[in-house]
């Protein structure tokens, strides 16, 4: 087990992502953040907080992708998590999806499907705290906190103070 990001580094990475979002979109007028529960939702809130400090508040919500997963039949049913779309909706917006770890890309594929049910954004961008490689689909992140090369057998554990009591990212050896 090795810690690859500590609380300070996570904070700085998220702040940098906030700056990159402003730079890439030339402002925040049209930006909507959607975090993917559980931990992506907290990260979305934190990035929104930084955006508010740096420039202006942005609408922030959550998007549950459970019903769109392609591995539903491989596991027992999972409970649904909250989906909260900001009141302005996503039609014609620049939507930034936020998740903790980018791995196979299947979560993001499901998120794109789920977004399609709700409306037609102008663009969809992706922000992740950790990109650990091993993509199974042609998907990449626009904003990355840290690229962490991993072996496929290892697992990446993100802890956030909102639910885990502390901020850290660790790599655990595979079974």
């Amino acid at each position: 087990m090795a810690t690859v990001l500590d609380a300070g580094e996570i904070g700085r990475a998220l702040k940098r992502i906030a700056h990159e979002i402003i730079e890439h979109n030339r402002g925040l007028e049209n930006v909507v953040l959607l975090g993917i529960p559980t931990r992506g939702a907290f990260l979305g809130e934190r990035i929104a907080h930084f955006l508010g400090e740096i420039q202006s508040p942005v609408p922030v919500g959550t998007l549950d992708i459970t019903l769109h997963r392609d591995d539903l039949r491989l596991r027992p049913p999972r409970p649904l998590l909250p989906t909260l779309i900001p009141s302005g909706g996503i039609e014609g917006k620049d939507v930034v999806l936020v998740d903790d770890v980018l791995f196979s890309g299947r979560t993001i594929r499901a998120a794109l499907d789920a977004l399609g049910e709700i409306g037609r954004p102008r663009t969809v961008q992706l922000a992740v705290l950790v990109d650990r490689g091993h993509r199974e689909l042609p998907i990449r992140a626009d904003y990355v906190g840290k690229n962490i090369p991993t072996a496929a057998t290892e697992s990446v554990k993100v802890r956030l103070s909102e639910i885990d009591g502390e901020d850290s990212v660790e790599i655990m050896a595979g079974a």
Partner: protein, 317 residues
């Protein structure tokens, strides 16, 4: 959660709350422009209805279709059942067609249990009403409706007072509701003439009253049951008029309800018998909300039963 939903007794309070929470999340999604979800694509749900039904069959059909499942409707009228085919042969036909879930409504109590335990089929069995036994999804949608009207009782019905008035004896809706409401913590009072109270009622965790007027101003929820003339071979009360005078929800009784109280009815209503037209159409009535909530709750049940992989060892031959 178990593989089948035959009775409220198949669910723990936690299972029931999970179904209700799932339905709440599905409600938010269903408010959007796209109502269809890909979750059960490629799965087949068979509606096997040996008794007449409007609401329940349409509700299950609509729930399955919104989750992209394929739906086969089977009603006993106009099928080989009228040529004398047995439940076993019908079930094995459905099995050969590859049904993943069978929603069964049958006039005989225990029919769903028979189908689930028989080993004739490997599909999940959902009881959509069996004789005078149970109708679990109706109870779930009623609890969902109560929760949406009383947000303070979201996690538990502790302190909620529910009156169920009418033909308790023949009502599978009442049986399932008593089980679920008490499981969730509500205090239930059954109100009916003595002839329409089942003999075993002393084993239920409920109060019984023969007098609607003494209790009507104390309940938060009043469930009015349909007088099931089709199941009444004997006479259980002298006349419809007398029943209506003693136990019908007329305007005077509606006005003596608490301001915050709601009126529920599982439908179809006999207007003028157990419920007057003014009461059925009043702002306290949540009858139509019950219908639309039924689709959400049945989507949640189908998702819970079919949304994941079959647990190892549960598929019977």
């Amino acid at each position: 959660m178990k593989k089948h939903l035959l009775s409220i007794n198949d669910l723990t309070a936690g299972d029931a709350l999970e179904i209700l929470n799932t339905a709440s999340e599905l409600a938010k999604i269903s408010d959007g422009p796209m109502k269809k979800l890909p979750t059960l694509r490629g799965r087949t749900v068979v509606n096997l209805f040996f008794e007449d039904s409007t609401r329940t069959r349409i509700s299950f059909e609509s729930a399955a279709k919104r989750l992209s499942a394929d739906v086969i409707n089977f009603s006993a009228k106009g099928s080989s059942v009228s040529k004398g085919e047995s439940l076993k042969d019908t079930a094995q036909t459905l099995q050969a067609m590859g049904a993943d879930a069978v929603v069964i409504r049958h006039g005989a109590s225990g029919a769903a249990q028979r189908l689930a335990d028989s080993g004739w089929i490997s599909a999940s069995v959902i009881n959509a009403g069996d004789g005078t036994h149970e109708h679990p999804t109706q109870a779930l949608l009623d609890s969902y409706t109560i929760r949406s009207k009383f947000p303070e009782f979201r996690e538990s019905f502790d302190g909620l007072k529910v009156g169920i008035v009418g033909d308790i004896l023949h009502s599978r809706v009442a049986r399932s509701n008593v089980l679920l409401l008490t499981k969730l913590g509500a205090h239930v009072t059954l109100i009916a003439p003595p002839t329409l109270i089942p003999v075993g009622v002393t084993d239920w965790k409920v109060d019984v009253s023969y007098d609607l007027d003494s209790i009507i101003n104390k309940v938060d929820v009043l469930m009015v049951l349909r007088v099931q003339s089709e199941r009444m071979a004997d006479s259980f009360f002298p006349s419809e008029r007398e029943y209506s005078r003693g136990y019908g929800l007329d305007l005077a009784r509606l006005n003596s309800l608490k301001e915050s109280a709601i009126v529920m009815h599982p439908g179809p209503m006999n207007r003028g018998l157990e419920i007057s037209a003014e009461s059925a159409d009043s702002h306290k009535s949540v009858v139509l909300a019950q219908v639309s909530n039924g689709v959400l709750v049945r989507m949640a049940v189908l998702y819970q039963l079919l949304g994941g992989a079959a647990l190892a060892g549960e598929v019977s031959a």
